[in-house]
């Protein structure tokens, strides 16, 4: 039975691919394929069809390895899971119709073919979903790590002066990390002045401001002074409008100015060599 099915498919593979491409383009207007250049669509379609049919050919002996191979390749096409699902649906529907047209499937064997198709498609689908969710979990955990690497570290620049450049969004977890690194660093580096540089922070709302104020207070408690530097003009205006009081600690617009101030506070100046 499978042999006749495979033969039927192989003999008509061009028609199948053509109909399948048309059906996929109809799905969501031309947008469905729009992110792919046309020569790639052709190539990928053929690959997909080959993958689909290779899978039927071995329907009786579908090993987990074969399936994983299939899903791995499909995931690598870069299609969305919705698109892949549709692609599988349409492909199997078109194959079924075509086999009916060619009288490979008829009244007498309909029932067993329905079963074959069900087995074929459901195992594919399960594997696809699993592969995609694994891929997502991996991406999310990698991004978490990447974000943590971005997280604040305190850099000793001169004796008694350290800088912490903050880049990116500050959420609760990062705020904790900033505080820890700040206090630990101040003590270890024997810093007297700490410059907290927020040039790279896109939004300073009341929560971020609150965390900054708490950090500055904590730095004060361990005997150092915290300066807030890199306040862009639009951020300065927003902070003032929010009614946040930053009068208790020093602020400057740029890191450069802050550094000059920090040197002054530690009784030093930069002079040009003769």
């Amino acid at each position: 039975m499978n042999k006749r099915m495979t033969e039927g498919i192989n003999q008509n593979i061009d028609v199948i691919i053509e109909r399948w491409e048309i059906s996929m383009k109809e799905e969501k207007g031309k947008n469905f394929f729009h992110f792919m250049p046309s020569h790639l669509i052709e190539k990928t379609s053929r690959e997909f069809a080959a993958l689909m049919t290779s899978n039927i050919a071995e329907i009786d002996v579908v090993t987990p390895e074969k399936l994983n191979d299939f899903t791995e390749k499909v995931v690598r096409f870069g299609w969305s899971i919705k698109f892949v699902n549709k692609a599988i649906d349409n492909f199997s529907r078109i194959v079924f119709r075509l086999l009916e047209e060619k009288d490979v499937i008829n009244q007498s064997n309909l029932r067993s073919f329905v079963t074959i198709f069900e087995n074929w498609i459901s195992s594919l689908r399960e594997n696809i979903i699993e592969a995609y969710s694994m891929e997502w979990e991996r991406t999310v955990s990698l991004q978490k790590i990447a974000l943590q690497e971005l997280s604040a570290s305190l850099i000793p620049v001169f004796e008694k002066i350290s800088v912490m450049p903050l880049v990116g969004t500050i959420d609760t977890e990062r705020a904790k990390l900033i505080m820890e690194n700040l206090l630990e660093g101040v003590v270890k580096q024997r810093a007297e002045v700490v410059l907290l540089d927020i040039t790279g922070v896109p939004v300073v709302d009341t929560m971020v401001a609150h965390h900054i104020i708490q950090a500055a207070d904590a730095v004060r408690l361990v005997g150092a002074t915290c300066m807030l530097v890199g306040i862009r003009p639009e951020i300065a205006q927003t902070i003032v409008t929010l009614g946040i009081n930053l009068k208790d600690f020093k602020t400057t617009s740029t890191l450069q100015r802050g550094m000059q101030e920090a040197l002054r506070m530690t009784n030093r100046i930069i002079v040009e060599a003769e």
Binding site: P202, D205, T206, A209, H210, E234, T238, L242
Partner: protein
């Protein structure tokens, strides 16, 4: 007549998504960097309040034009506990979470229009608007 887009708020990262959407829409409306920052910050405050006090909710953003005037409206809605004493909340420094308590009064100052609809046990709906000048 406007075009409306929205972000559901479930996690802290949805706040970032809402902000991002707000910044893009503000840019498209034609706001400058200062107003973009104001709008983005206001969204951040309201989205965080939803996350903190209601658990979940929605931020909707709509650009509009009215008699040749352009602007942006943001609707923050949730089905949380509601705000029992809205007058207190609008005073600077009132917080039930140990926060700065500057969010709500701050948002009002950041925007041109500010409307709150809140009912105990039903939820909160805050509509804010900024006009392009």
């Amino acid at each position: 007549m406007g075009y409306r887009s929205s972000v559901d708020i479930y996690t802290e990262w949805d706040i970032v998504a809402a902000r991002q959407l707000g910044r893009n829409e503000a840019k498209k409306t034609g706001f400058g960097t200062v107003d973009q920052a104001r709008i983005t910050t206001a969204i951040s405050e309201l989205a965080r309040n939803i996350y903190l006090y209601a658990g979940k909710g929605k931020i909707e953003i709509e650009r509009f034009s009215e008699n040749g005037l352009y602007g942006i409206t943001i609707i923050a809605s949730d089905e949380g506990p509601g705000i029992p004493d809205i007058r207190k909340v609008m005073e600077d420094g009132f917080s039930t979470s140990g926060g700065l308590g500057a969010g709500m009064p701050g948002v009002k100052r950041l925007m041109d229009e500010f409307k709150v609809h809140t009912e105990s046990g039903v939820g909160t709906n805050i509509t804010i608007t900024k006009w392009l000048r």
